[in-house]
Amino acid sequence: MCRVVDLKQAVLAKNDRAADTLRAGLAARGTTVVNLLSSPGSGKTALLERELGLARERSVPVAALTADLATENDAARLARSGVPVKQILTDGLCHLEAGMLARHLEGWLPDAARLLFVENVGNLVCPASYDLGETLRVVLASVTEGEDKPLKYPTAFGLAHLVVVTKTDIAEAVEFDEPEFRANVERVNPGVEVVLTSARRGLGLGTLLDRALAAADGAPVHTPVMAREPHGHDHGHTHDHADGAGVLTQPHS
């Protein structure tokens, strides 16, 4: 017979559970994850290379994992900083998921790593939906991408704990309107910090590392409006609904 069954399960419950497990497991061993999101070509790798170099100079144990559809070019660039680096090839997949990240960390992540930087696949749409077990989610945009980028990709910018503007050395040439960019960020994510950087000129370097270390030390991280959960409402994350996602976490009898 035909039956209507209530499920009330968050679609991404499985990823969210994997992310929570990873976050807890890494916290227990003293590692904090920083998830870097941006469109392709916005300068994630260039900035990260400089920040990793700084971490090494300051003797902060860090590691980095970079994801692309193809090529190991980014891992080769990041490895120049001298910190442990690993390339993930997604074989065409447009984003990382928590389970994939966990598998890549197994047997590789150095014991001492205090921070693990994850350079997500260059894409501002899909990676935004997947929690990777990070404590700090950083969304980057270069000055060439237009001031309205946060409005075009509201989910990515709306869920950021920190927004980083890159390539500010060419801001004047491309007539980047900083106040307008900031106003657009504020519209989708009120209160989030916006940091200006230029990897080429060395401007604003160290801020990302500082914010990551603060988060690792337990300093409060910005809570985006989009990430706040209204009471009694499933918000795309795992909750222990009587008949919902929570049930799946336990063996079913």
Binding site: V5, L12, L151, R187, P190
Partner: protein, 131 residues
């Protein structure tokens, strides 16, 4: 486009639920709630869903999507508004700085309609027709 991953997550969860139920022979429809701010395109999701259902107990199942508009409330002044797209998440009245998102981020399987092997049990007492 991550709608294929989303579609496969939906199918996986419905398959698990069907397996737990034990005697599901076919899934007729799956009802989803998709918030305006969930970052998922319902049309792309339907397309992927149809493809990804092939060869599973969900083959031929219809995906019914309920879109949930984004709404927010200002904590200081209690003003409520439709956030729109792109969303406005700071209070348009007082710029109070503390906003609660009431809805719009939903990405949830509400329920499914499926066929099972059980024979309908005749109701013990016929329900009298309502006026």
């Amino acid at each position: 486009m991550h709608e294929m991953s989303i579609a496969m997550a939906v199918i996986g969860q419905v398959e698990e639920a069907a397996e737990r139920a034990g005697d599901v022979t076919a899934v007729r429809s799956v009802r989803l709630q998709v918030g305006e701010l969930a970052g998922v395109v319902p049309d792309a999701l339907s397309f992927c869903f149809e493809l990804a259902c092939a060869g599973t107990v969900l083959e031929g199942a219809e995906l019914v999507t309920d879109t949930v508009p984004g709404r927010a409330r200002c904590t200081p002044c209690a003003h409520e508004w439709a956030v729109g797209m792109p969303p406005l998440l700071s209070c348009p009245l007082c710029d109070g700085g503390a906003t609660d998102l009431l809805s719009g981020r939903e990405l949830q399987i509400v329920g499914v309609q499926w066929e099972d092997g059980r024979t309908p049990v005749p109701a013990a007492q016929p329900i009298p027709e309502e006026r």
